[in-house]
Subunit: 501 residues, 2 copies
């Protein structure tokens, strides 16, 4: 692939948006395709997605969910059956109107065959509630069929005018959980359980501290009773919604007639949930941890966790060093299941690049630990170990390398979370006066914890005046009655306000 | 889900097509969706696909391939750039013409917004050569970028008029490998290597013997130099193409300008391959092994490998039996990585179903091994072990269960392959006279090995008269010059003829 390794990465302080794109390009994660708004996820970016999938999929199965697959296409009429849903969703989407091309009579390629017009247009799924709920209405008959716990890994299309790699693209990849339950309590329990799965994953694997809470009426999912979300803070102080979980109530069940005979023999509508995370998480990862040298990846999600860079000059040295490097690679691969995964330990034995070039390349790809091994190290049975996040390096004994690497990976994982947490705390503030609020958001910004009344008008006006929106009403907050940051009326809870991706 | 377990499965001898659909329904693998031609893959069917993915994906990675993801949409003009390709492919496909819906002015739902017409229509990928090759033209510059070994797991849409679950649906799931090489030899080596990966997978994991060979000019992939395939025989004697691997030559490279500087500094076009298998394989699995009692699955691909059915009458018995059953489950899960996989050992502790009902249900789902455990067995520290393929049952000691189960799973895997191989052999025949050939295909049919000349006319005429087509020209055949089965002209090789799915 074209060598972009010599290209300078724009520093964050100079241009944050450009820095984000430079990190993606120099790490080889993704690029824009010829199809407007659609991205190509390159192998290294896709490997991160595979790790996300692997870990989350195991959690979904442990919590009793099964994967299934539903059609890519949704009949147009389905979208308008749930009134709020169509308002919030159906508008900007890819519409299939024909099912055939034919040779152009002038010989210039192919044209749409007007004879092959569909009776009813199909929409490429912008989310799958409607098609899945229609199916559920045939699968569910008795309380014994409940809970029905499904998940789907799929591609999604929402036509976007302004796109940004990973964060907002016309096509993206995600998982969508869809469940049905006997009553509201069980649906609520499921909604919260899956939000907790997301929170744990974000914090433990992505090393991203998140605030979990409820979305405001204005920000909730179109058609849901309540939406919960986890919100992460990026290095520019903006919020990124990293996962959502919806209690759909009986709204869809009533529209799609999903009914069951309850334990008393009465026909009831089911209670439903849906929840999802997407390739957006890769955007969160990038903006949460990376630095001016390029990508920084938490070890648990990094496709390559350790890279060994051998250093030689003569052919004789080359042979000796490569032999020791290979031995080291094998010792590392054997010490833990994590390092035993195919590709997790990489030996960079390319002949045509200098060690310096290699260091630089793996740095930009965010590989957490680098081992440097040269002739002098070998004489001393030593190897140099370097951590990506801080750049610290030290010489260790080769025989200690496996345990040192494991320790360091775990240390880096913790350090990245700590660093991101410190950043979150230092950029969060309780604000009780609107002037201070406005100043906060015209400055560096961050998360403002402020009281908000129930009026959607206040919420709208605040976002118009400051560009900050309600990210969520956090679960964890002291009982502390106050007054709405805008109108001054009594308000019971603080909301987290932030500018958002 | 609705209990279809009481429904009778149509015997194969009575109506083979209906039997196939009954097996799918009673095992809960898939169903038609409201969207014409698109299927819903139900959790149990999807779990089989997940196992297929897991095993193949590991093989792809071991052979040096990386996964990536390319756009769902392909600009219409791309399809007509490779002339043969568009002839063979682009015609029956889903065409996206608009990107917005709007509220109907009459208030009746949503309509397509005429203002949101796309400048160039997009086609939902019927295969991804064009969009991937366009990308490759930017990724490849030097021989150092080669070989480029990519794979993509994706959904595919080809508009089909007559559909059959798994075998032919408008949307299906697949993997598509796409590679680029320095020369023809390396491309050919890759093409054959991946065909061999498919063959090994079909035989070792799916327990389906396959014939590998080259496709005729008439049957090759539109745009390829040469297509190779593996062909399996179903229980009605028909062939099912289970995987294809194409040497694309430089056809696409020339159209999409994929060039590299070779080792001598000269600009050259790359040589390419593509190869794929799809959810069709699940259809092959079903028709290859199942019987009149329902699905039969080879252990290596079965999502549930062992089911434990506890038997009790009184509450006291229930407690005792469930305790022993749970112990058994744990012992089984611990003995091998294969059984340690989440869900591989299932304890059916449902209260509201009789043991007989459970036996029946798991039989129809093709679970290879069943363990029956009742109060009398417990007194003797025994458990009854039953194999799905033959129905044989015997009592064994509970302490022997883990090793007995492992042995039996391996035995079943071998027995299914042997049975399918015997069937293939007994339904294959060398035929040298056209009258016999016609009689063969108007009777039970199977695979006919007959000489064929190079004339496409002969091939066409044979298929018109007998409905049998050339499945492949097998690699493995004796050098044995003969005469074309139709025209009598000299011919060097035998082709495998069969009616095909």
């Amino acid at each position: 692939m074209p060598d972009s390794s010599q290209k300078r990465i724009t520093p964050r302080a100079e241009n944050y948006s450009q820095w984000y794109l430079d990190v993606i390009e120099s790490a080889g994660l993704a690029e824009h395709s010829v199809v407007k708004g659609c991205m190509v996820i390159k192998p290294y970016g896709y490997a991160i997605w595979e790790n996300i999938q692997k870990i989350l999929d195991a959690e979904f199965k442990k919590t009793g969910h099964e994967n299934a697959y539903f059609p890519l296409f949704i009949p147009k009429s389905f979208l308008s059956r749930e009134a709020e849903h169509v308002e919030g969703f159906a508008k900007e989407c890819a519409v299939v109107t024909h099912h055939r091309l034919k040779n152009d009579s002038s010989g210039a390629g192919v044209v749409v065959d007007p004879a092959a017009k569909l009776e009813e247009e199909l929409v490429v799924r912008p989310t799958s509630e409607t098609i899945i709920h229609d199916t559920m209405s045939r699968w569910i008959q008795s309380w014994r069929d409940l809970p029905l716990l499904l998940n789907q890994w799929a591609n999604i299309v929402r036509w976007e005018m302004r796109t940004r790699l990973f964060l907002r693209t016309t096509e993206f990849l995600w998982q969508e959980g869809h469940t049905a339950h006997e009553n509201e309590e069980q649906a609520e329990e499921e909604t919260m359980k899956m939000l907790e799965v997301y929170k744990k994953f974000a914090q433990d694997c992505l090393a991203l501290p998140v605030i979990s809470g409820q979305k405001s009426e204005r920000e909730k999912f179109a058609g849901a009773l309540r939406t919960y979300a986890i919100e992460a803070m990026m290095q520019d102080g903006k919020a990124l919604q990293a996962g959502t979980s919806h209690n759909l109530g009986q709204n869809f069940a009533k529209v799609f007639q999903i009914r069951y005979l309850d334990r008393a023999g009465q026909l009831q509508h089911v209670w439903q949930t849906s929840w999802g995370v997407s390739t957006r998480l890769i955007g969160a990862l990038i903006m949460g941890h990376s630095d001016d040298k390029g990508l920084v990846l938490p070890p648990k999600i990094a496709p390559i966790k350790v890279v060994i860079v051998p250093i030689w000059k003569s052919e004789e040295e080359r042979e000796k060093v490569l032999k020791a490097a290979l031995r080291l690679k094998e010792a590392l691969s054997e010490i833990s299941p994590e390092l035993g995964v195919f590709g997790a330990v990489r030996l960079d034995d390319r002949d045509h690049l200098t060690p310096g070039h290699k260091f630089h390349e793996w740095e930009k790809k965010g590989v957490p630990v680098r081992l440097e091994l040269g002739p002098k190290d070998i004489e001393k049975n030593a190897v140099v170990i370097v951590r990506r996040d801080t750049g610290e390096k030290k010489a260790i004994l080769q025989s200690d390398a496996p345990s040192e690497v494991l320790n360091l990976l775990s240390e880096i994982q913790g350090a990245l979370f700590q660093k991101a947490s410190d950043f979150l705390v230092s950029h969060s503030r309780k604000i009780d006066h609107y002037e201070e609020f406005k100043a906060f958001f015209s400055g560096d910004g961050g998360f403002a914890y402020s009281h908000l009344c129930d009026s959607p008008d206040c919420e709208t006006k605040i976002s118009e005046e400051t560009l900050a929106t309600v990210r969520c009403i956090p679960f964890e907050q002291k009982e502390e009655t106050g007054t709405c940051i805008l109108c001054g009326k009594p308000a019971e809870k603080r909301a987290v306000f932030a500018k958002a991706y």
